[in-house]
Symmetry: C2
Subunit: 234 residues, 2 copies
């Protein structure tokens, strides 16, 4: 196919982290080389000819930030002809949710530095990376409406108040406590633990819960989310 045009192919990763006191953050790297040298950008880079897109993004994340992730999800492919000032570069973007506190960042290769930024307080960004982050935020907000994602952002055991706070942070709105508990419980994907969390101040201890992944994936397969939405067939 010598007459067919070729393009450079890149992958970029939007890594979201969560800390209850701060909110949602995104992981950025400081660029070592032009274009946008010294500017902040998403971790990512070019795909080698013999690796899959997932392999490329996993490798780049580890090289540039030290983060090793087991699960990521394809977000969107950005292919406007002029999105890179050099030549045509098409980027396949991925997103991932992690517990921010368990990672130690260390930048290598193309990155001079790696740092978490509050999504409400982002620096100027290279290329179309602002658009990519906005697309990822929108995707996560849409997704938690119909899928109980976000458990990756919490500790293994959590209270209902912590789960509700995470959803309120992601959706940027208040949620009715009673309805939320009822709906989440009706999905039957949480295990009630024997332990309680002691309050830091006064107040009653709160029940701890654990997310049961197998039940959740069973739910997805059987299309039961639809039943939650539209009601059980009789």
């Amino acid at each position: 196919m010598p007459d067919r045009p070729k393009v450079h192919l890149a992958v970029d990763a939007v890594v979201f982290g969560y800390q209850p006191e701060i909110g949602i953050s995104v992981l950025l790297i400081k660029r070592k080389f032009p274009p946008y040298q010294g500017g902040w950008a998403l971790p990512g880079g070019f795909v080698n000819v013999d690796e899959s897109l997932e392999e490329a993004v996993t490798r780049e994340l580890e090289e540039e930030t030290g983060i090793k992730i087991a699960y990521l999800e394809q977000l969107y492919t950005f292919g406007e002809p002029n999105r890179d000032p050099r030549q045509r570069v098409v980027s396949v973007a991925y997103f991932v949710l992690v517990r921010q506190d368990i990672y130690t960042l260390h930048a290598q290769t193309d990155a001079e530095d790696a740092k978490w930024f509050d999504i409400n307080d982002l620096p100027n960004l290279a290329f179309d990376h602002k658009l990519i982050i906005e697309t990822a935020i929108q995707r996560v907000r849409n997704k938690i409406i119909y899928e109980p994602i976000g458990f990756e952002l919490l500790n293994e055991s959590f209270t209902f108040a912590e789960l509700q706070k995470l959803y309120e942070t992601l959706l940027q709105r208040n949620i009715d406590r009673g309805n939320f508990q009822k709906k989440i419980k009706s999905l039957n994907i949480l295990e009630e633990l024997k332990e309680m969390r002691k309050p830091s101040g006064s107040g009653r201890p709160a029940r701890l819960y654990k997310f049961i992944e197998e039940k959740y994936f069973g739910l997805k397969d059987r299309g039961d989310m639809f039943e939650v939405w539209v009601g059980k067939e009789r």
Copy 2:
């Protein structure tokens, strides 16, 4: 960036059509050239260096099938190193929902023929196009759980029974009539028309409805789908 590897970039389109008597179909083309010459495949082709991904897929669809579409949605990017037997080709796939009966197909350029196939009765397919179609079906099934898509597949005015039949076809399951009506009505995106549809046999005439796009997009923006799922905040 002379040292960076380049790849061929393609776009493919999964066009779904609906006819109540038949179900959901997908539009395929018969390949004129190798590889897979004479085999069935998704309409699509290579991206020109100066056009966006959406421009490329719109152009290819028109060239290969005669179909002109106004709206399409990016599905997923398929980039396994060996998905094309020639060289590395990464394909950005799109999907679109259309009313099947309003289009006249006419194949040109790379396509020898263009034809609708029942999604439950597909021929052997070139490349990884079976995987692409399966991904698109899964996406549509997931999407209608939380978003009232599918109105593009119906006539402008329709009965509740017709809407329910479409949802049942897409989801491959029976839906409880009462719950479905209640939920859809609570979204407040349908206009009740004065006209009734006369039954073809005996029975009572049925109320006709129209989908109001503006109300639907307002709903999406305000995140009200979440309220439907999790209940209104007080």
